[in-house]
């Protein structure tokens, strides 16, 4: 049996306000999401907000290690209504430059533990000026024992993911 299965691949033919995958089967061991995206936010800064199973309650936490200059910072939050601190860039980025994110959700279908998320994000830009680029590695928690059957990414800005943004969701199977 193949270790990796493509659950969904979406390349936006037009701007879209979210990326949403529903009815995710529980037959895999882990989920991996690869995203190449940017938004139309007027500011260079934006974030992906991740919600799971449509839960909009205050059941999420996240912790982030990040840099936008020579100094490396960290922050965290709890009791949030989404997993935050998953970075993506907006309109001021260099033309045609999209941001990369790889996100893992291990053991996503288990019904005994809360769900952990880890992500590596890069807001690349043709600039070395402070605060025109950003790197982050982020951990997230969804405070629920339910098996995950839906994931939704939404730009924090309330704007749209622009055309050509891609989202590839893989199911990863153990032996």
């Amino acid at each position: 049996m193949a270790a990796f299965t493509v659950i969904d691949h979406t390349e936006l033919g037009a701007a879209a306000s979210s990326y949403d995958v529903t009815s995710i089967a529980s037959s895999y061991d882990h989920l991996m999401l690869e995203v190449s995206a940017r938004t139309d936010n007027a500011s260079i800064w934006d974030d992906h907000w991740l919600t799971i199973n449509g839960d909009s309650g205050a059941n999420y936490s996240s912790t982030q290690l990040y840099a936008v200059s020579a100094t490396v910072y960290s922050n965290r939050n709890a009791g949030a209504t989404k997993i935050e601190n998953l970075i993506v860039g907006g309109a001021p980025l260099a033309a045609d430059t999209f941001c990369a994110m790889k996100l893992w959700i291990p053991n996503y279908a288990n019904t005994t533990g809360y769900k952990q998320v880890s992500a590596q994000c890069a807001m690349e830009n043709a600039s070395a000026v402070d605060a025109t680029w950003k790197l982050a590695t982020t951990a997230g928690l969804w405070d629920s024992t339910a098996a995950i059957n839906q994931i939704t990414l939404t730009p924090k800005s309330g704007g749209n993911y622009i055309q050509y943004s891609t989202f590839t969701l893989y199911g990863v199977t153990g032996a």
Binding site: S36, A67, V72, A122, E124
Partner: protein
């Protein structure tokens, strides 16, 4: 069709100044490169340089976060002639047999509507007193599909025993 396919592996039976993957087909969605790296240069660690499609112009940027002591640092570079890691390779002053680990993801490498961006992750010398870890990203300011990737150590040559494997990830 497997979702992840090994496109090519290069295991160095002798020291080599560069390693090149060429003729990369445009049939995958993403690429991933996994490597085990060491240089002949007499240093602890060094940068790895990456050129795409033979372009040696100043069309690259990169940003990195690096930890080697109790604090972390970061930096950015633009207008460079290559993407580079912050460390990511061992030098020959480390004990024999210590090779650094390196992973690079290139998303949508064949999408001609996008510049090429990549994510980088490297770790060095976990048994040695000089330990370093870094993650970062690189940008090639060009929308061409990637067909060639060239790796060059910042100094010296790749040591015998280095290994590079390029994978293609399908999306259907």
């Amino acid at each position: 069709m497997a979702v992840i396919e090994a496109i090519a592996t290069q295991y160095l039976e002798a020291d080599a100044a560069t390693v090149t993957f060429s003729g990369i087909p445009a049939t995958y969605e993403h690429l991933q490169l996994r490597a085990s790296l060491r240089s002949t240069e007499l240093v602890n660690a060094m940068r790895l340089k990456i050129n795409l499609n033979g372009d040696t112009g100043t069309n690259y940027s990169n940003h990195n976060v690096r930890g080697s002591t109790t604090s972390a640092t970061a930096y950015g570079q633009t207008g460079a002639a290559y993407i580079q890691t912050s460390d990511g390779m061992h030098g020959s002053s480390l004990p024999a047999g210590e090779y650094a680990s390196f992973i690079m993801d290139i998303l949508d490498y064949a999408n001609t509507n996008k510049n090429t961006t990549c994510s980088l992750m490297a770790g060095s010398a976990l048994l040695h007193t000089d330990r370093r870890v870094q993650f970062g990203s690189g940008l090639w300011d060009n929308t061409a599909a990637i067909t060639t990737i060239l790796f060059t150590p910042n100094a010296g040559s790749f040591s015998r025993g280095c290994e590079f494997t390029l994978y293609g990830l399908n999306s259907a």
